[in-house]
Symmetry: C2
Subunit: 245 residues, 2 copies
DNA sequence: GGGCTATTTTGACATATATCAAGTCAAACG
DNA sequence: CGTTTGACTTGATATATGTCAAAATAGCCC
């Protein structure tokens, strides 16, 4: 939502492909102006690559925080579990995105992250990352950028939820998914959602029935084409209008 | 909400008082384990101190980002203005807190910050801060902490809004205010709100009438005592119960 | 203190979303 | 191929919050 599409120009994507061929560090590499040598050093940080199956935990609430993780393939959701057992989805993470930021301040993870499909991640030991960023100022600045972007993203997509109605929320969600898809080189209009209506509802603060009704209504209006979790966006501009941009 | 009260013990508060006698850098100093010499260097960063009257802008949307600001006295609100003129309050900032983080990623402020009362701030040039944090690892780590805490705070107070009803939101808001009050050495139960019902509503995604009704209802239930903007919390535990903690 | 204004409270009613309950659909499995 | 299962859709109704309007209150200036 805030990571505007035109933030990423072709040059940078090419550079990324070269730099991160064996590990998806898109979020870290992308706008950083590193020398080839520095990139190698960044690459070397992510010594661990791990695989997770659907439903596996990347980390649990209470786990000690040691690393960030760059998602190489697949997708994860983060959630908090309330005492009464309700699940609250707090975020969806897609390939190329960094997960775990929320725990830096507390040294302990405050939510759970689990795979929504079979996935691979690269581990980025926080200590080494901080150490390296001390040597490479542009990396340091970029780390700050990622974190504050996270703040902005939350404000962008979540904060406004309070003032948005159900269909506006869903429109914002779809646009967000579309942009993140596009950033990662995939279609901006053909979405394959990895999450259920229940999870979308939990994330957006709506009941699954409301989510479903909104999808149906969008389809009736000709804004999207719904085939279960495969969504085709037919009228991007109109969706943008709905969320006021 | 996430900056738990017991995060701050007496020792640290004493250290803070000594370290930051002439400039309120609480958020920066507090959990940082700096040598006296390093503290002086941090102090020296905040060379600029500025005053603002009620309604003055600290920065406007579109302003180039150069500095963070530590609030020394008074309070600010951040907001975005929608095309149609509606105001959306995105945050309230109190003494000792850092404002401006949201702009690091974009180099440009995306929201406006203005004084809710006569206030003073210390300017913290971002470049110098980053430079210094490269030399002082514990400061670097702490900068990261502040930023990710901001993420968590947003998730804590805002993300849950989606799933909270009006009175739960207001309870969360009051608890948040109470904690921030307490952190800054003021009463946890006697609150002097600096913002109108309209602003609270904008922040919480509610109409001012709903906010007012919720206040009245809390008072009827004996949870709080309302005298305009002076709120006395009578039953902290019950409020905590309402937000599920 | 008296009168002015903005803020807050309260009430009656409208509307959006939640809730409860069926019903449909598609994938998985025997 | 039929059955089962879980996910999704749709409908009827309840409830929470928004909307509009008026009254009460607090703050402020004279």
């Amino acid at each position: 939502m805030n990571v505007a599409l035109n933030d990423i120009n072709q040059t940078e994507i090419t550079r990324l492909r070269v730099a991160c061929s064996n590990c998806n560090l898109r979020e870290l590499c992308l706008p950083v102006d590193l020398t080839p040598k520095e990139m190698v050093r960044l690459e070397e940080l992510s010594n661990q690559k791990r695989s997770y199956e659907t439903g596996d935990y990347l980390y649990r609430s209470g786990d000690r925080f040691k690393s960030l993780h760059a998602i190489r393939s697949g997708s994860f959701k983060t959630r908090v579990l309330h005492e009464d057992g309700r699940e609250q989805v707090t975020g969806f993470l897609m390939p190329g995105e960094i997960i775990g930021l929320e725990a830096i301040s507390t040294d302990v993870h405050t939510c759970e992250a689990l795979a929504m499909e079979d996935s691979e991640v690269c581990e980025l030991p926080y200590g080494k990352l901080a150490e390296l960023s001390r040597e490479i100022p542009s990396l340091q600045r970029h780390l700050h950028k990622i974190m504050s972007r996270e703040i902005v993203r939350d404000q962008g997509i979540m904060l406004l939820l309070g003032s948005m109605r159900a269909e506006e929320r869903l429109a914002a969600f779809l646009l967000n998914m579309s942009q993140r898809n596009a950033i990662h080189g995939m279609s901006a209009t053909q979405l394959r959602l990895r999450m259920s209506r229940l999870e979308i509802g939990s994330y957006l603060g709506l009941k699954l029935e409301t989510v479903s009704r909104a999808f149906s209504h969008f389809q009736d209006e000709g804004l999207i084409q719904v085939k279960a979790r495969a969504i085709e966006i037919l009228a991007l501009p109109k969706l943008r209008e709905m969320v006021g941009k």
